[in-house]
């Protein structure tokens, strides 16, 4: 038998040691834990939350931020609403730039009254400067309001409305309690 055609025990041990040792490198493949936000940065999430809290302010029931609007938008921008990502990017940047220019503060740092006033301007479409051309402020506000409502009143599986808070607010039971129609005791 020609021993040169075989792998020697020494070679095998060496290669196996290398292989097993290399497994240690696999730990590097383990993905770092993603940030809580998938599509929105931490700053974006703060801004969306602040706007959501003015669109749906808290009373006896949770406001927009507490009731998952940020989570919903973040989750959907990473899913079905991926097509709105650039609009959000542009709109959120425009809100921050405009507020810094006008008030020397970010939107989140403004008083609720000033925030409301700014959002009313967005809604009416009177903002025209900078990025707010061609009625973008109105479009962006309507999109944000629409998504906030979807989050607030929609199913928790889409990211918002944890524990069906808005259902409870409206007196709607979920899951509905309805039995069969057949049996009577």
């Amino acid at each position: 038998m020609d021993n040169s055609s075989k792998i020697s025990r020494r070679d095998f041990m060496m290669l196996a040691t290398l292989g097993v040792g290399g497994l240690g490198l696999l730990a590097g493949c383990v993905q770092q834990h993603p940030a809580d936000s998938a599509a929105l940065s931490e700053g974006d999430a703060g801004l969306v939350g602040a706007m959501a809290d003015r669109i749906i302010p808290a009373d006896a029931w949770p406001g927009g931020r507490e009731n998952g609007v940020v989570t919903f938008i973040d989750m959907q921008l990473d899913g079905h609403y991926r097509r709105f990502r650039s609009e959000y990017r542009k709109g959120l940047d425009a809100v921050t730039e405009t507020c810094l220019r006008r008030y020397l503060k970010r939107f989140e740092a403004l008083s609720p009254e000033v925030q409301d006033s700014f959002l009313r301007e967005m809604e009416s479409g009177v903002l025209r400067d900078g990025e707010w051309k061609e009625g973008f402020s109105k479009r962006f506000f309507e999109m944000l309001r629409s998504h906030a409502m979807q989050a607030y009143y929609g199913s928790p599986r889409h990211g918002g409305n944890p524990n069906y808070a808005s259902y409870k607010m409206m007196g709607i039971d979920y899951p509905p309690i309805i039995g069969q129609n057949r049996y009577g005791l």
Binding site: L15, G19, G22, P34, P156, D173, P175, I177, N181, G184
Partner: protein
């Protein structure tokens, strides 16, 4: 002997390395903490976070979910596809167990919770798909529909049309999925979320036995409701409270939150009239009692519960188990869920006596 070509030798080395690497990775994955293995997939992260706060947090994932090889090639293929979906970005944000995995998990529940499993298998909630969906009497009386799966077969992956044929009130009916007939339609996870918040059981401190009660920590209810449509478990505290009516009168109901899971399936009609549909809300002499005051949570048995409130030596001096109710005989007109004093005392409720003698037929002397 003929010399083996170099590329074959290289291939052999590569194959050996691959096998060693795979085996090493497999053992590493199974032994590593969840934080550095399962949880590193963001699809599992939420479940893992919940598990870390649960009473099962001392158990590694594989104790309940098994390993990549637990179900042979099937699970290997499934895990492989998880990798594919993960890296191609085509997977869901949050993965859920399919029915097969839920049932495998049920068998693993049994390893530690044998007594509960034994009670479940002996009760009505261990009914199989065949028992539920091939019941001629039931299917002829109510059209099979999507909502059947809300309470039976809640983990079934398809629609009612994928399960039974024909979907009508005229049989004969048969299941469309091979091997489905003997599977339990209401497994453990129907009412339990294994990752629910809780603490592992610990031995009580005996330094001051009299105070053990006061040191005992309250824990959230251990039952939750699995919502097939949302594919999530809902905590009992978040489930709606049934306020059934008897005519126009609102009944008193127990404040036991666990009952809110029961009424999800044992529910009245849309008008919430007590006694309609599958409603079993106690009325009459038992109004206000929780389902679980009488029924065992796993076997549903109520055989031994009467004595909790009606001991043989009681104020009333009656052996209620022998009275003319459906507890003693299924043909009795006095259903234990809504029997009233007036049902027997048709001429009015007599005043209380110090002692009354019970006759052999369950009635008692006045």
């Amino acid at each position: 002997m003929k010399k083996v070509p170099t590329f074959l030798r290289a291939l052999t080395v590569v194959m050996i390395l691959l096998v060693v690497a795979c085996c090493g990775f497999y053992f590493y994955w199974n032994e590593a903490s969840a934080r550095s293995s399962c949880e590193s997939c963001h699809e599992i992260e939420n479940s893992s976070i919940m598990w870390a706060r649960s009473g099962h947090r001392d158990l590694p994932c594989k104790e309940c979910h098994g390993t990549a090889l637990s179900s042979g090639l099937h699970s290997l293929q499934e895990k492989g596809m998880m990798f594919v979906h993960h890296f191609t970005g085509t997977g869901p944000r949050q993965i859920t167990l399919n029915e097969r995995q839920v049932l495998e998990l049920t068998e693993n529940c049994r390893r530690c919770h044998g007594a509960e499993y034994a009670r479940w298998i002996s009760g009505g909630h261990s009914a199989t798909y065949a028992a539920i969906f091939l019941n001629d009497k039931h299917n002829a009386g109510e059209q099979l529909n999507a909502d059947c799966l809300r309470c039976h077969g809640m983990f079934f992956g398809g629609a009612i049309e994928d399960l039974v044929t024909p979907v009508s009130t005229k049989g004969p009916w048969q299941l469309k999925v091979a091997g489905q007939s003997d599977l339990p339609a209401i497994p453990c996870l129907a009412c339990h979320e294994v990752h629910r918040e809780g603490s592992p059981a610990v031995r009580a401190g005996y330094d001051d036995p009299a105070k053990i009660f006061y040191y005992r920590r309250g824990s959230p209810s251990n039952v939750q409701w699995y919502d097939r449509y949302e594919k999530i478990h809902i905590r009992v505290e978040a489930l709606p409270l049934l306020k059934p009516r008897e005519g126009t009168r609102e009944l008193k109901v127990s404040d036991d939150p666990r009952q809110q899971v029961c009424v999800q399936c044992h529910a009245p009609n849309a008008f919430h009239q007590a006694g309609t549909g599958d409603d079993r809300t106690p009325r009459g002499v038992h109004e206000g009692l929780s389902c679980l005051a009488c029924h065992d949570g796993h076997s549903n048995d109520s055989r031994w519960s009467c004595v909790n409130c009606h001991p043989a030596i009681s104020n009333c001096g009656l052996d209620v188990t022998k009275m003319n109710t459906t507890f003693a005989a299924s043909g009795s007109p006095h259903n234990i869920h809504f029997v009233r004093c007036i049902d027997c005392h048709t001429k009015g409720i007599p005043p209380k006596h110090g002692s009354r003698l019970q006759r052999a037929d369950g009635t008692h002397s006045k």
